[in-house]
């Protein structure tokens, strides 16, 4: 075959390869070249997305956080840092190891931590708009190095709405005596439960819950129905001859949550946030975050913070707390 013939064959092969080719990874929606167009939003993350570590070495991140004050208040996902110490935080290039937990909101699974430093921090600019229109770009913090925050992008996917708890219910954290049918007497208080925190005692008799008279066990279950872990219930008990009213924080019924087929399709426990439902309202977007990449700010193209990523929910969905609720939470926690 002559050179010309070879050329023709080579060109033919090239065009075939192009026809059956694959889009290079760096040009895909979360490819490096596409991210370059999001440089201005990246700069916001560089200053206002905090990297939270709990490994003691500040090497492997546990979650991200949202910088909400110039004094170094940062919001993060409570259940990801719960019980883990020491907490250290990186903002920009700077690492801070003196960090204290200021407040926790169980309903939203948010912890406020405070960085001890004289430095002036750059809080996010929280959106005044309540909702993000479906189809709008949203920008999150994806991966990070010591010096750089990188973006990961997606779009608002669905109507902002409540995500009901799918857990098998909530409990007070008490065991009731079985011997008397019409008297709900506490036999045992579960350690570290809401009941213990509220100082319910062995021998207390439950009279009412959430305003509902308790005549049998079924009444108590009815009073807790539809409640999410972290919510409180007003309980009235008879202790000796005194009637006492207490607020008891409900907790999730122990036991492993059921994995659905879609959960497994999403990578199961390794990929999904442990707490991913039971939120009063969420902004639903399609950014493929990992479970350790939630907690940080969610930005629109103009760099405004429209939410805080709070859960990796499935292969196709990440949930964020909407700006309206986030503003209320920040105001309340900073008081």
């Amino acid at each position: 075959m002559n050179t010309k013939g070879l050329m023709v064959v080579a060109m033919l092969m090239l065009s075939l390869m192009a026809a059956q080719g694959t889009l290079p990874a760096n040009q895909r929606i979360n490819g490096k070249l596409v991210w370059e167009a999001f440089e201005s939003q990246r700069q916001v993350l560089q200053k206002s997305s905090a990297v939270i570590y709990t490994d003691g070495k500040s090497h492997v991140k546990t979650a991200y956080g949202v910088v909400v004050s110039e004094q170094g208040h940062v919001l993060t996902k409570a259940s990801e840092i719960e019980g883990k110490t020491p907490i250290s935080i990186r903002v920009g290039r700077d690492l801070f190891s003196e960090v204290e937990v200021v407040d926790i909101d169980d309903q939203w699974d948010v912890a406020m931590v405070k960085v001890k430093s004289d430095q002036v921090f750059t809080p996010v600019v929280l959106s005044e708009d309540d909702d993000v229109q479906q189809g709008n770009w949203v920008i999150s913090n994806g991966s990070s190095s010591r010096s750089l925050r990188r973006v990961r992008v997606g779009i608002a996917s669905a109507v902002t709405r409540e995500i009901k708890s799918t857990s098998s219910g909530v409990v007070l954290g008490v065991q009731l005596g079985m011997d008397k049918e019409d008297v709900l007497e506490i036999k045992k208080v579960t350690p570290k439960s809401g009941a213990e925190k509220a100082e319910l005692k062995e021998g207390d008799v439950l009279l009412s819950a959430g305003g509902r008279q308790l005549k049998e066990r079924a009444d108590l279950l009815q009073a807790m129905k539809g409640k999410n872990p972290g919510e409180s219930l007003e309980i009235e008990v008879l202790r000796g001859k005194k009637k006492i009213k207490l607020d008891v924080e409900l907790m999730a019924r122990p036991g492993k949550p059921k994995m659905t087929r879609n959960d497994q399709m999403s990578g199961g426990e390794n990929s999904l946030s442990k707490r991913r439902d039971g939120f009063p309202r969420v902004l639903h977007h399609d950014t493929p975050l990992t479970k350790s990449s939630v907690g940080g700010p969610l930005l629109t193209l103009d760099g405004i913070c429209v939410g805080m990523n709070i859960a990796r929910a499935s292969r196709v969905a990440t949930f964020a707390i909407p700006a309206r609720e986030l503003r209320e939470m920040v105001t309340r926690m900073l008081k």
């Binding site: 479906q134 109507v159 193209l301 196709v316």
Partner: protein, 332 residues
């Protein structure tokens, strides 16, 4: 089944006419961002966002949820009469009764039509007369590697408050019978639509692989290629996405015995196909689909050629009265 065909043909002819009238407007615009390797500026990103937000309200309305027994999938309406494109593994057969849920929560009866079992293409139609929201199809097949696209679907099943879920991505790979994109899909999205930025249908969600960027869709060209056969309720191919019904797999649901008069119905299975159709013990079976039945062997010979879901018309003599009763065969 036979009796239904003419009616179906009418619906089909109307559908074709509508598609024909849409043809001139197709392929008129090209989304300019597709010419660029990647978006380079805020303006480019805004162009993608504006195109998506502009297309969404129209195409959302035509994205439906499909219920078949306990399973659920998605589909998209492509004609005002309610012709729907979906995936073969969602309809799982020809002539099956399904339920279509529109975004407002209203449920409509539907019937599955033809399918291609080796590529996962399938067609179905809403059987209730009405005027339904529908999308345009990209019949030019001008979608290419790197084009920006978006997916809609009822991920995880119908949720009225949430509505259909939208995801953005690009075409990652394009082969004759499969489009791969980085638009993430999941269970419940199957059969849902993939659109170009003009909101024209370019594919239907089929399956996923392990990584986030392995989302497979049946390209529009596969539907166009087999359009007529699918309209004629044909089961095409022997692939993994739907199982071809096996001859002899259907059953009537009654016992019978040969007598001097002919075949007499014995015990009728409660809740079985014959029971539902109103056949009673003691009925004399004279014929099936205009073929005379002389004995049990003749009855068996007919059933051997039929499959579950087929409809038979039985000529019955009951106390001297002659009745015509239609029975839809159950699964043996």
């Amino acid at each position: 089944m036979k009796k239904n065909l003419p009616e179906l043909r009418v619906a089909v002819a109307m559908t074709m006419a509508v598609i024909g009238s849409l043809a001139p407007s197709l392929g008129a615009k090209v989304f300019p961002l597709n010419e660029k390797k990647v978006p380079e500026s805020m303006e480019d990103l805004m162009a993608i966002q504006d195109a998506l937000v502009g297309s969404l309200p129209r195409v959302r309305k035509a994205t439906v949820s499909i219920k078949l027994g306990e399973g659920f999938g998605s589909g998209v309406i492509v004609s005002p009469e309610g012709l729907i494109l979906t995936a073969a593994h969602v309809t799982a057969g020809v002539g099956k009764e399904l339920t279509v849920i529109l975004n407002d929560g209203t449920e409509h009866k539907a019937l599955s039509m033809g399918l291609v079992s080796n590529t996962d293409a399938a067609m179905m139609r809403i059987t209730e007369v009405g005027e339904y929201p529908y999308v345009e199809m990209n019949k030019e097949n001008d979608y290419q590697l790197g084009h920006w696209i978006f997916a809609l679907g009822h991920s995880g099943g119908f949720d009225k408050e949430r509505g259909p879920v939208v995801r953005l991505g690009r075409i990652v790979k394009d082969s004759e019978t499969t489009l791969q994109t980085d638009c993430k899909v999941i269970g419940g999205d199957s059969g849902g639509p993939l659109f170009d930025m003009e909101g024209q249908l370019i594919g239907i969600h089929s399956r996923v692989s392990k990584t986030m960027e392995q989302n497979m869709h049946v390209p529009m060209r596969e539907y166009i290629k087999h359009w007529d056969e699918m309209e004629e309720n044909k089961f095409l191919g022997d692939g993994p996405f739907a199982k071809r019904p096996v001859k002899g797999s259907g059953f009537l649901g009654f016992g019978s015995s040969d007598t001097e008069e002919g075949v007499i119905v014995g015990k009728v299975l409660e809740g079985g196909p014959a029971d539902k159709a109103g056949i009673k013990t003691g009925d004399l079976v004279l014929g099936i689909n205009e073929q005379k039945i002389a004995d049990k062997a003749a009855l068996k010979a007919i059933l051997k050629e039929k499959t579950e879901g087929d409809e038979l018309e039985l000529s019955i003599s009951r106390k001297g009265e002659e009745l015509q009763i239609k029975v839809k065969l159950g699964k043996r």
